[in-house]
Symmetry: none
Subunit: 234 residues, 2 copies
């Protein structure tokens, strides 16, 4: 069963009270836990993840459609992709403390699955699938009004967002890290100069980027680093 | 403006009556028509397509979730992918005669765009986006109850209908991959011949299968590969 302090936390932080707690349990049960406790006949959260994925996709799409009446489809799609992705959803899971309450098998627990971004993404989707089933789509919209929409309004997912800031936020979420950009090369004629830059954290190279000035190359390097983190979290 | 015979057809065939006809117009206006008639200041249907895509994704996901309580997530996902795709949506557009009413620019008309599957897919999504905005999600559900759900119930999108096609769709969702089937062995007497086949993607063996003819063995190999992906997706 889901811990009672989590039930209280959902009520106090988000005003959410499940009618059917068994569906909340299901959302917080990883397949590894089901496999290690077959005698309990539990369900894992994968079907709820399937449903929650689609609920969130519509909820975010509807918000973007209505709040950006002048954005063309291509920009809406890019913005949606920046929101509906592993990095964002896993961060929302952590912000809501979902990571503390998922039931994992011992093997997965020891393998560090509780911090795995794809697991946290799936969990965020499963929670929203459970909320949708238990209370309807309006409740998911209200949850997103607390969890996601203010971040969209603050420009956190803007397509032309600053990748250097995003990388800094990502790397420093657990404390200070020294991040540095270095010019590796500069080439080409004056009218078509090309700059190559790398970015390091505590001395380790995270990514390299190329651009027509140093600033553009730094942004490209930061984006390359962010994309590498996305991949390695999968 | 959308033709009045189409407005009648929507009413008579599907019981749909738009409150705001301008939004129906928008759904049936291709960007090529907007470009050729810039003096009219029209909107094309691409933003509605963005919204309708997400509305249909949830509507289909919700149906599958509730009607197949015992299907694991991997199979639900494959079934959804078989429904929410160009081939299906373009066929629905034609079935509803949407292809007769879209407003195209002359250049696109001459290029045969009215029969282009991706255009018809986009149109189906845009129509459902318009329906959602004009009348809410329940109307989209009711339209899908006429247009899509009976086909699902009839098994038209069953994941295990054709495993080779399902595997191809799964592997090529992010781009082309070379898939090949090879006969490994042929044994047994003439009346009980047994064929063994493997399937490879870009040279890597994904699964093997056995059957009483080559075709059956290939289907079994494709299914083995799909089930391996189901497991590794967990």
């Amino acid at each position: 069963m889901v811990a009672s302090e989590f039930v209280s936390e959902l009520r106090n932080r988000y005003g959410i009270e499940f009618h059917d707690l068994s569906i909340l349990d299901e959302a917080f049960t990883h397949s590894s836990y089901v496999n290690e406790h077959q005698e309990l006949g539990l369900k894992d959260n994968e079907r709820l993840e399937f449903l929650g994925d689609a609920v969130l996709e519509l909820t975010v799409s509807d918000y973007l459609y209505r709040h950006y009446p002048d954005l063309p489809e291509g920009k809406l799609t890019r913005m949606r992709a920046a929101i509906v992705q592993t990095r964002s959803f896993s961060a929302f899971s952590k912000e809501a403390h979902f990571d503390q309450y998922i039931r994992l098998g011992k093997g997965e627990e020891n393998a560090g699955a509780r911090k795995r971004k794809t697991l946290l993404e799936d969990l965020f989707e499963a929670f929203n699938g459970a909320l949708y089933l238990d209370q309807g789509r309006q409740s998911v919209i209200e949850f997103c009004e607390k969890m996601i929409f203010p971040k969209i309004a603050a420009g956190q997912f803007d397509a032309n967002r600053d990748h250097k800031t995003a990388l800094q936020e990502y790397l420093q979420k657990d404390g200070e890290v020294e991040i540095a950009y270095h010019l590796l090369s500069e080439s080409g004629p004056a009218h078509a100069r090309q700059f190559e830059v790398d970015v390091t954290a505590a001395g380790t190279v995270l990514g390299t980027g190329v651009g027509k000035n140093k600033k553009a190359a730094e942004q490209a390097a930061a984006l390359a680093a962010l994309e590498k983190f996305d991949d390695s979290d999968k």
